[in-house]
Symmetry: D2
Subunit: 334 residues, 4 copies
Amino acid sequence: MIAVLKAGTNSEQRESLIKWFESMGLSTYVSVGEYHTIIGLIGDTSKVDVGLLESLSIIESVKRITEPYKKANRKFHEEATVVDVGGVKIGGGNFQIIAGPCSVETRDQILGIAESVRASGASILRGGAFKPRTSPYDFQGLHAEGIELLLEAKKHTGLPIISEIMNLNHLELFMDVDIVQIGARNMQNFDLLKAVGRTNKPVLLKRGLANTLKELLMSAEYIMAEGNENVILCERGIRTFENHTRNTLDLSAVPALHELTHLPVVVDPSHATGISRFVESMAAAAAAAGADGLMIEVHNDPPRALSDGAQSVTPEQFGVIAAKVRKVREAMGL
Amino acid sequence: MIAVLKAGTNSEQRESLIKWFESMGLSTYVSVGEYHTIIGLIGDTSKVDVGLLESLSIIESVKRITEPYKKANRKFHEEATVVDVGGVKIGGGNFQIIAGPCSVETRDQILGIAESVRASGASILRGGAFKPRTSPYDFQGLHAEGIELLLEAKKHTGLPIISEIMNLNHLELFMDVDIVQIGARNMQNFDLLKAVGRTNKPVLLKRGLANTLKELLMSAEYIMAEGNENVILCERGIRTFENHTRNTLDLSAVPALHELTHLPVVVDPSHATGISRFVESMAAAAAAAGADGLMIEVHNDPPRALSDGAQSVTPEQFGVIAAKVRKVREAMGL
Amino acid sequence: MIAVLKAGTNSEQRESLIKWFESMGLSTYVSVGEYHTIIGLIGDTSKVDVGLLESLSIIESVKRITEPYKKANRKFHEEATVVDVGGVKIGGGNFQIIAGPCSVETRDQILGIAESVRASGASILRGGAFKPRTSPYDFQGLHAEGIELLLEAKKHTGLPIISEIMNLNHLELFMDVDIVQIGARNMQNFDLLKAVGRTNKPVLLKRGLANTLKELLMSAEYIMAEGNENVILCERGIRTFENHTRNTLDLSAVPALHELTHLPVVVDPSHATGISRFVESMAAAAAAAGADGLMIEVHNDPPRALSDGAQSVTPEQFGVIAAKVRKVREAMGL
Amino acid sequence: MIAVLKAGTNSEQRESLIKWFESMGLSTYVSVGEYHTIIGLIGDTSKVDVGLLESLSIIESVKRITEPYKKANRKFHEEATVVDVGGVKIGGGNFQIIAGPCSVETRDQILGIAESVRASGASILRGGAFKPRTSPYDFQGLHAEGIELLLEAKKHTGLPIISEIMNLNHLELFMDVDIVQIGARNMQNFDLLKAVGRTNKPVLLKRGLANTLKELLMSAEYIMAEGNENVILCERGIRTFENHTRNTLDLSAVPALHELTHLPVVVDPSHATGISRFVESMAAAAAAAGADGLMIEVHNDPPRALSDGAQSVTPEQFGVIAAKVRKVREAMGL
């Protein structure tokens, strides 16, 4: 870590600052330039509070050289992490497609979709039981009943299941859910992160709508610091000025995260675009970019007169997408 | 609400859609243009799920005419809401300054600052006991002990107190706290919003880092829909590409919110800028913009050699700011 | 177009507004709701100034039903446009790779790279002669000499060439350049757009750093409205909060633009990411997304000790990328 | 400037890099840490191309310690610049209000508004003759005729005038215009910046919609590097996710720019909000924040039935605003 001191700092202030650094177990080196003095910090700076440091009146700016995340950092853990989800492996060359409806609605719906997506190549079943909605007046999910229906679909198809948790008091309800999902709006709900960190359950952590990759990794670090290293990261689109698509899918996050961390990276083209017609091209693009998995919304057949589904594809469309994704991975030598 | 149908929609599809609208108790009118057909919906559309509607294959786009928030909406509640905080009134012409340290650190610290800010014109004391930090390795607050010290400061000075809650299981701990604060990162932690909505305690709801005013009002609606109408909104800076200040204070949010809602609006220039030198000018600007209150970070005297405080001002600086704010309000005829 | 009137508008105001619309040759229909009155406009609304309309005191909001761009709009021109660049076709199923150095530096450099990228599958040569730089003290290009060297490379290799124009007075210099490029910072330099619109030269128009697809299409419309329909659109990354990559490549822009417009869409993964290691995966992803072409920065061999090139790949790396891109297009059935 | 080297860099690479720095006249110091080696550069680094440096394979990151702008930098020019506009001074304690219509429309309009705003306290007259419009089909201004009408208004009222230039070939037309305005969309139209830099005419430079303060100052540096130091900066709102106002006025830019530069800073609340009802509160807030001037759109009386002007205020409203602004400045001791 490097601290740049303001012009006009006197030697007494400098000494006082250096003593403070040394009291944290860091060694320092000082370089005096024409306009600025620079203090370099050597040692474990992951616990230095940059915000506090920047607040000191004699500091002009601070630059981290080493990332503040340790457990999620590829520098200290070169080998890719493989997360085992009820026997299905993800990461380190293992590619999986998670598919299923946005919300669990009825027994017939979830069983029907589950069988259909398994047949087309999905290896994990998704389904929302607790839905984060911007409006309190929108449908919020079937709650406990939704989890039960998902478990029934798991029993019928053998597919491991994933569902979103919004409240740390619901952890018990998720005991038999294979992957607990933390949604974008809860990416910095630190108490929820700690709570899932105290289990040993695989966690799929979605990137927040306006969060950086570094912030995503700091949130993964919250989970891992409690002892749970089974974290799967998920790029699901970020908020930009473009409003033709619901969000903007950031596919360069895939190679970037693969450099920064050893954790698997999954891409959700359905939420990212919000438009079912774009799911095929974005799923293929994510596969070409090297993603370790995809999460795709599939719904069963709605009244033909009304809908082909906003962000959801039909089971037939899903089959086509899964096949193209496989071909693209082959073309890329993955 | 207006739904624009895609070109090429046939009359059977149109009839099917209209029947669906009527099943929700809405009446409709239809206008056929050269390229598009438009269906207008008349009645209470606040419960129509726009996301679902946009997902239908025959819909090109949807436009709300009436806002989806009801209880927070000025159209249905013309008079400004005055929130009573332990006898101190905020909103509807009542202006208050909330001041205190970022975190409660020691008994001496919080008592000292409390007395000093009361003397300079603060009417509510702030202090963090649970701190949301991006890194799991940064200081997270004194927790229960911090709340106890705040309560002691309240007893000594008579100032009502405000502190941030991060976990719905902590509500009991906040029983004697006068205002419960929901931080920016939890603005869409819907389970926490509902939990504070089931109390009758004043809630200060901070705008999320990348959230719109409409989303802020939908989150207020979550609290109000549970029965608690004592909501104070807080503008605390939004994330932009500018990185010279920590966030960008959006002061036009003040007159905009005053048009959209009857709830009081408080501005936090300390978190918004992250730089203590800018707090005076931004506090004065917020007062000129018509804010119903300010929230300012004040710390007690740190080692002079090191700090004048990043985003915190000293008690002396706070006194100067409070005096200027009063003069600006007079100049504006407020 | 739909205009929503404010509550409390009287019938005299309404009549006055309707007469104004009729004076523009539009017919209207009026729908009176509980809180709002809505006026629908039928006819050619592309010339209605939305900004002016929204400024009227009786208007609450305005919604366009038909897009304000005509010539670039796929609705009025179903067939994909194929742009002919000195015999090389782009768009409508014709895929091309543009490659070459960021800046033309020396004769040897540009001739060497040109031959090398042609051998690996590039069909158009790029090279900057006028460079837009944030700082006046950074290298700004070789100017006229750079164009001459590019023309020499064209003669040697037979590759058509593309270079960026920054000043409308330079048009004559670009007489023999096959594609004139408008950079991201000039996307709304309307006088420059009009000037290239008065030629019949192919124009590659880059999306601005914080511009929407609709704004990009309005800028294309500026060029086309002057008579030049040979416009190629280029997605080159947009500014987001993510700073690990230089910009964020928006690949869903590819299928979105293909729906909205008939113009070809090229993707520039080099500028978008700013990191040569990510160019391969993003080029492959762009191909999977259905792009009509790629623009890739290639430099010749720099001092091995120092560089593998920030955003530029070596000729060898380019060969590998071009081969993978071909395989991905086959896998996608393109 | 500090360059952080990647882990695994060998000493030969390091020596090669250091020689390159020395060839630019810089001296260096090297610090070897546990994971990274850091090279500090001492001397005039304003000409070092950070983009190029970051592109080297052995570099992990680069941090500027000294800003890359020199002439605009307060560190090298402590005293505030006072720009003289036809006898009217702005900056260094001199506060001015620029007022007038968005576009010059007719002789009566511009003469009427000019007299009225002068009477209420405006000291400079604005009026657009060349209008940058997103759509080629919107009104683009009266061009040369608009400039002539402005000059006539100047003659009648004695007010200096300001108008926007969009094309460097128009400079001659602006010979008698007192301030040449560069609009937000042209903030990085570097050829236009250089062209106005070669005159000695005061230039009002507007911040781009998604540009940082540092980029604004680099654009000012472009003008100043050509010899023209009469630059006035203008904050006019930046693009954010909030769409209730047209843009988001960034008032902390005022104290921030006053620290970073000696140039005067003017605020335009009309364009920033796009809503005339918010101009009064934002003008007062800008004055409280310490702006050196305001730019306010005023239109003459439109048909009462239709309009109170979207972003423009009436002459009467302008009078009220100007009076409040004066009172706020007094309250702040300015």
